[in-house]
């Protein structure tokens, strides 16, 4: 294969990574933006989404497309409910103190991971893609499902943007983000907004997990890399800025695809983590974010 097609393949793979990453990172960014909570257990919600997708598709008989559709709806809802419970039982009682919530979500990470290991087991399990459809390019065939993932992620992000900017719920969330006290004084139920935001953020991560599971298999440790990459994306894009998150996801996803294909993935990760640390030290508002 010549260099051009090779690069094209790398970019397409990178685009799929970017799409999944943008979904997961949007959830993390939303939770940080509105609640000022750094959710270390975010990767585990992603993992749970993938595991539940496997469980749903194996339990529901019938054509793969129907079972997958059920998984897309059920898995994020279940994970969102779990996150809402975690918010009410743990985070709320800590009064959303930033440092205490990090420690608590680290604990949550361990609990969820162990639960997944004990209940689901150490195996990686595949999920059948809802449709088998290949696009034949002149140089190589490409999975149609991967392009569907990019499209679906784009639509969900568009819906999220509309939700945040055009609806009353989004307005209430943005008001809480700007000033929690004033929002409360205007009769907004801040507790409910926080619970909803945390559930929505977790649901987005779970949805990313569901979409990715036909490409990568469901495994109880699969939340690690997305967590790290989501952190990288959210920080480089500017904490709490949705647009910055999207741009950063594209940059990180594409460069990850290219660097991993031509160099080693470990080197790509070392550079990315160092970049994040440096951005936080020298440009805390992010590379694309406005002044915080």
């Amino acid at each position: 294969m010549a260099f051009g097609p090779f690069l094209l393949l790398a970019l397409m793979e990178g685009l799929v990574t970017a799409a999944v990453l943008a979904l997961a990172a949007a959830g993390l960014s939303l939770v940080f933006g509105v609640m000022r909570v750094v959710n270390v257990a975010h990767g585990e919600f992603y993992m749970l989404g993938a595991l539940l997708a496997w469980a749903v598709t194996t339990m529901i008989p019938g054509p793969p497309a129907l079972a997958f559709l059920a998984a897309v709806i059920i898995a994020p809802l279940l994970v969102a409910a779990l996150a809402a419970a975690a918010d009410g039982l743990v985070l709320k009682r800590l009064d959303y103190d930033p440092e205490a919530t990090i420690v608590a979500t680290i604990g949550l990470l361990y609990i969820l991971q162990q639960a997944a290991l004990s209940l689901y087991g150490p195996n990686a399990n595949p999920v059948t893609a809802p449709f088998e459809w290949r696009i034949q390019l002149p140089w190589f065939g490409y999975s149609g499902y991967k392009l569907f993932v990019v499209l679906a992620a784009g639509l969900v992000l568009l819906a999220l943007w509309l939700l945040m900017t055009r609806t009353r719920a989004g307005l209430v969330m943005r008001a809480t983000q700007v000033d929690r006290m004033t929002a409360q004084a205007f009769g907004i139920n801040v507790d409910r907004v926080y619970m909803g935001t945390f559930a929505l953020g977790a649901g987005l991560a779970a949805l990313a997990g569901v979409l990715v599971v036909p490409i990568a298999q469901a495994h109880y440790l699969m939340g690690h890399d997305p967590l790290l990459l989501s952190f990288i994306v959210v920080i480089i894009g500017g904490l709490g800025s949705l647009r910055g998150t999207l741009i950063a996801a594209l940059v990180i996803g594409l460069s990850d695809g290219v660097i991993s294909m031509f160099f080693t993935p470990t080197l790509a990760k070392i550079l990315a983590t160092l970049l994040v640390a440096m951005v936080l030290i020298f440009r805390p508002q992010g590379l694309f974010g406005a002044k915080a």
């Binding site: 743990v90 440092e99 609990i111 991971q113 639960a115 952190f231 070392i270 983590t273």
Partner: protein
């Protein structure tokens, strides 16, 4: 006076432990003491100075590799390797602090986490030298000190106790010194300390470096006493463990880190008979502590009953 008596009494009890504990438990206790040294270092940064770091695994691994690599590649003996390990931990902490201490709070946590992750990945990247995830065993020749074979039970226990005792008494002296008070001032109110004329950056940098010396000593001691060096000690898990020990025993108490390490070890050991879900215990302990007892055991004891506890 009371304070020193209490600490010396604990050390005396630990010294006699080698006679009434089985060799298996004595080895475990040696391991706990080494991990407690790591946790004491973490406590100096987190408990006293208020620096909540998520990157101490980097410092532990720096000490471990600074001791293990010269021993492996150049055949250094235990003494010089141990000193190299302490220096490695201190240097890594100073470098980390120079960059990371420009941030505070949540940013500091994420920056330290990212540097530790980069350090772990670097160890994997240079796997031909570092052994990567598999690590390497430290040669027996590098595990002798003054003719004593540190890989045998009794010398190993005594060496671990000596390091633990030095660390404990040094931390007690430190936190009761004027500098120790300054560290606490950073934790309680950094703005006010700055207004009083303290250079908060250098105080925090010094505290983090001392913390790194402890972590380096623990890493080097682990490499020499237990004969294994590996990248797994640089994972995020080893940044969480000292935090867990300190939170459990009591942040900002001199004996808390040891108590936390001991209790956590016993808890996991006891649970092993019932379930294999170690991580669940770690996670549940973290959540329970931060929710119900953020001051830890000795912190609560100090608040309620024993006011003089350091």
């Amino acid at each position: 006076m009371k304070v020193w008596t209490l600490h010396l009494a604990l050390l005396a009890v630990l010294f006699t432990a080698q006679f009434w504990l089985s060799p298996y438990h004595a080895t475990n206790l040696a391991r706990i003491m080494v991990l407690a040294v790591f946790a004491m270092g973490y406590n100096l940064a987190f408990g006293y100075t208020g620096l909540l770091s998520l990157g101490h695994a980097l410092l532990l691994a720096a000490g471990m590799y600074a001791a293990g690599l010269p021993a492996q590649l150049c055949g250094w003996s235990a003494g010089p390797a141990f000193i190299a390990g302490i220096a490695g931990g201190g240097l890594a902490a100073a470098a980390l602090g120079l960059l990371a201490l420009r941030t505070a709070g949540v940013s500091f946590m994420i920056v330290t986490l990212m540097f530790a992750q980069a350090g772990f990945l670097t160890l994997l990247y240079f796997a031909p030298i570092t052994g990567g995830d598999d690590g390497f065993a430290v040669a027996a020749a590098s595990r002798t000190l003054f003719g004593f074979d540190l890989s045998t039970d009794s010398p190993r226990f005594l060496a671990a106790l000596a390091i633990f005792a030095t660390g404990l008494l040094a931390s007690l002296a430190l936190v009761r010194s004027p500098f120790g008070r300054t560290m606490v001032a950073m934790r309680e109110n950094e703005e006010r300390s700055r207004m009083l004329g303290y250079n908060t950056f250098t105080v925090k940098l010094a505290a983090l470096t001392i913390s790194g010396l402890y972590a380096g000593a623990a890493g080097a001691a682990y490499a020499i006493l237990f004969g294994y060096v590996g990248a797994s000690f640089a994972t995020i898990q080893y940044s969480i463990l000292p935090m867990l020990y300190v939170l459990m025993g009591g942040a900002g108490t001199t004996l808390g880190p040891f108590l936390g390490a001991l209790l956590m070890f016993v808890l996991i050991e006891a649970a092993t008979g019932v379930t294999t879900a170690h991580q669940f215990i770690v996670g549940a302990a973290l959540v329970a502590l931060i929710l119900f007892a953020p001051k830890g055991l000795l912190g609560t004891v100090r608040d309620r009953w024993v006011r003089w506890l350091p």
